[in-house]
């Protein structure tokens, strides 16, 4: 009980600044969710509950809005986020092979996170550097003109001391 109160208090204090920014603005709930996720990494149930209170909406409504949009995450994501581009240009140049290889290396599906919270995998539709397709993005680094052996090299680099 005490622990739970602490978490709630903690979440609230982290969100106060964001709430102040949007006080009195109508329709701001998506912007608030975005800022909250930016700050906290993902939207936990406590966060949703605080935002619901502030926005005078029910938790269900807030979750309904959040779950509609692809940007929002409800579980903790890995230290590194791997985004494999499957825009049309990447698709025709073999993006799916790249995704398959990452899936195989990590043993997770897009949207998933490895058990050790080291990697999360996402598939995105167009990163906008189609001339360099196929492309994958790890955190903020863009890896271009990918092939399977380049995927393995990149993965090794991020896996660091683990295993290989």
């Amino acid at each position: 009980m005490g622990e739970e109160q602490k978490i709630k208090g903690n979440v609230h204090s982290q969100l106060v600044e964001i709430f102040n920014e949007y006080k009195g603005e109508k329709g701001a709930v998506i912007s608030i969710l975005q800022k909250a996720q930016d700050k906290l990494g993902y939207l936990s149930q406590e966060v949703i509950s605080e935002i619901a209170k502030f926005s005078r909406m029910s938790e269900t409504e807030v979750f309904g809005v959040a779950s509609f949009y692809a940007q929002f995450r409800f579980t903790r994501c890995g230290d590194h986020v791997i985004r494999v581009c499957l825009g049309t240009a990447c698709h025709v140049r073999g993006g799916e092979r790249i995704l398959d290889e990452v899936k195989r290396e990590l043993g997770i599906e897009p949207g998933g996170t490895t058990e050790n919270y080291k990697f999360s995998l996402e598939r995105i539709a167009c990163f906008g550097c189609c001339a360099l397709a196929p492309v994958m993005v790890v955190d903020k680094n863009v890896h271009t003109k990918m092939n399977l052996s380049k995927v393995r090299d990149v993965m090794k680099r991020y896996q660091g001391g683990k295993g290989e």
């Binding site: 949009y69 167009c126 189609c130 360099l132």
Partner: protein, 620 residues
């Protein structure tokens, strides 16, 4: 003013492209190195600056040097010393960085002489790659905000609308509704509270036109937006831009700040008494929000679901007030039309489709990039003259326009005129400007499946035919690509497609079947091959292909054996290698790594090749 660079006193202006494409290719390092190197070599009278996207992404990173419009392509950090020491110090060009014509081999020093550029007509992209997008001074120097001044000081809102109407500018978001007419509807509505929204929620996979424009020339879009607001009588505007476009968002924020500093935004703009404010809303990742009413719902903080029209947003939109939603490219066209006149604009293009169109030309094309051409240009010219033809000397198979809402145009339609009407008649749509070129290695059934994966995931779920229909269509397409298709599947797909089209409220559902319908219409035999012969002619569909190592060609070098990620290849030194088809995941690594001089690995569909069961010595 002191900080603004006067180009005339300077000897050279070096501009590095810092668009998303070039940055991904390493142009930030080139830019930093140029600055460092320029400083340490004591360069005077040289400005090192940056621009947004030049469009020729294929050849990035791009460095452009004035005077002369010298165009260096594929520049790496290592090349910077030569650019500084040779070009900027001695006035000697670095020839090896010039563009080389792929077929004639001739080197071309200036961008205006490169066919990729020389055949374009850049109106919307007029400033892209020529000005620093983070410096309003650059935009003002090329006549920026002159149209806004003219509008506010000399024209009534009615005159602005009439000018835009007579130019016959049509919405560049895809549907092609006449912009002036839309403005007029909104203008006529009573009430003081009206809104204008710039739709920058570019969601088509394989399309990056709007993003490039916002990154390269945000002010022309914003100028168009203020003019539009004045015309319809709005005092508040929104830019709805994808959160996935951080650079575009950053440059928009800088531009908005600079506008305020220059009195171009806020209260009493340029002393005219007209007030206008702009807020940025970041889209949170929902393709359907490109649809007007869904976008409005999203700005209101709701799930982005479309509603029935009428009433159209021009009558009842954001918060129930009259609202205009215009695409980035539409708004960027507005200042030019005001400056040069509607007669000039309507002189470009075809009878019904005026002006120019921007395409993100990608896929299996030699020159990927951003191009702008007059309406009515032939598909062939776009692909072969500007795009440089198919990469790797392969054969053209199809061009896909309109993203997930569009269709695939086959080789027999290469002489098609690119305009709203012709593309619709061909079963595709103009769309927002993605054009993906496909060659003989692209499977058309797989492409239909690919787009359906996208649309069925993005369907908001409101209309049953869209939500359930696209899902069912995807299941059928998956079964066909896996070799489990049954006779009658194509007819079933067609029937479902028509139901989804008829039974959906918004553009997403009404157009989602287009990729399926056009591939059936133009490439029916490919569907039949998959269904009847369990063969994928393009060798794409995983379940229908197999890899073999040809015993007469394998030299037992062991490279494929070492690289196979799942240990499906058996063999040893000087032994002919054999693939275990039970273990093989068909990733194609063996084919990629087998040395070209051996070319022992083959990919086939619908046939079995006789190979030894287990490794045998080479030469036996």
């Amino acid at each position: 003013m002191a900080k603004e660079n006067k180009i005339s006193d300077k000897k050279y202006v070096v501009r590095v492209c810092l668009g998303t494409g070039c940055i991904s290719g390493g142009s930030l390092n080139v830019y930093e190195a140029l600055k460092r190197n320029g400083e340490s070599s004591g360069l005077k009278n040289v400005i090192i600056d940056f621009t947004g996207c030049h469009g020729f992404c294929q050849r990035g990173p791009i460095v452009d040097i004035e005077p002369g419009g010298i165009f260096y392509s594929e520049v790496k950090e290592e090349d910077v010393t030569d650019i500084v020491q040779q070009h900027l110090k001695k006035g000697k060009f670095v020839d090896r960085l010039f563009y080389r014509h792929p077929s004639t081999g001739e080197t071309i020093p200036c961008s205006r002489d490169i066919p990729f550029y020389s055949r374009q007509q850049r109106i919307i992209l007029r400033n892209c790659g020529h000005i620093n997008p983070e410096n309003i001074g650059d935009y003002l120097a090329v006549g920026g905000y002159e149209s806004l001044k003219k509008v506010l000081s000399e024209m009534t809102p009615e005159q602005v609308i009439s000018e835009i109407s007579s130019s016959v500018l049509r919405g560049r978001g895809g549907a092609g509704f006449v912009t002036g007419l839309k403005w007029e509807f909104c203008h006529r509505e009573p009430g003081k509270e009206k809104y204008i929204i710039c739709n920058a929620d570019e969601g088509d996979p394989g399309a990056f036109m709007d993003r490039s424009i916002l990154e390269a020339d945000p002010h022309s879009v914003l100028e168009g937006m203020v003019i539009g607001a004045y015309a319809i009588g709005a005092n508040q505007g929104y830019i709805y831009c994808r959160a996935e476009y951080p650079l575009a968002l950053e440059r928009l924020r800088i531009a908005l700040r600079q506008m305020e500093e220059h009195g171009l935004l806020g209260n009493d703009i340029l002393g005219s008494g007209f007030n206008f404010h702009i807020k940025i809303k970041e889209g949170a990742g929902a393709f359907v929000c490109g649809e007007e009413t869904a976008l409005i719902a999203s700005i209101e903080g709701k799930r982005g679901m479309p509603r029935t029209r009428p009433p159209f947003p021009a009558i009842s939109g954001l918060w129930g007030k009259p609202t205009i939603i215009n695409n980035v490219k539409t708004l960027a066209s507005v200042p030019v039309i005001i400056a040069k006149g509607s007669n000039w604009y309507s002189g470009i293009g075809t009878e019904k489709s005026k002006g120019t169109v921007v395409f993100a030309l990608t896929g299996k094309i030699a020159n990927s990039g951003l191009v702008e051409v007059p309406m009515g240009i032939e598909l062939r010219e776009l692909i072969y003259e500007i795009g440089g033809g198919i990469s790797g000397g392969r054969k053209f198979k199809a061009a896909q326009t309109g993203g997930p809402s569009g269709g695939c145009l086959p080789a027999s339609m290469l002489n098609l005129s690119i305009d709203y009407e012709s593309l619709t008649a061909a079963g595709s749509i103009m769309g927002s400007g993605g054009m993906i070129v496909m060659d003989e290695d692209t499977c058309m059934v797989d492409i239909a499946r690919y787009f359906l994966i996208f649309t069925q995931a993005e369907s908001c779920g409101k209309c049953v035919p869209c939500r359930v229909g696209t899902r069912q269509m995807l299941i059928i397409l998956e079964r066909i690509t896996k070799g489990d298709g049954v006779p009658g599947d194509v007819e079933l797909l067609e029937r479902l497609a028509n139901t989804v089209k008829l039974g959906s409220l918004c553009g997403l559902g009404q157009t989602a079947p287009n990729p399926v319908l056009t591939t059936i219409r133009y490439f029916r035999s490919e569907y039949e091959e998959h269904i009847n012969n369990k063969r994928c002619p393009a060798l794409v569909c995983k379940e229908l292909i197999s890899f073999y190592i040809l015993p007469e060609k394998c030299k037992g070098c062991g490279i494929c054996f070492k690289n196979c990620p799942v240990g499906a290849i058996s063999g040893g030194k000087k032994l002919i290698h054999v693939i275990d088809h039970e273990k093989c995941i068909k990733c194609g690594t063996c084919l990629d790594v087998c040395p070209k001089r051996f070319s022992a690995v083959v990919k086939v569909s619908g046939e079995k090749i006789k190979v030894p069961e287990r490794p045998i010595p080479v030469g036996k």
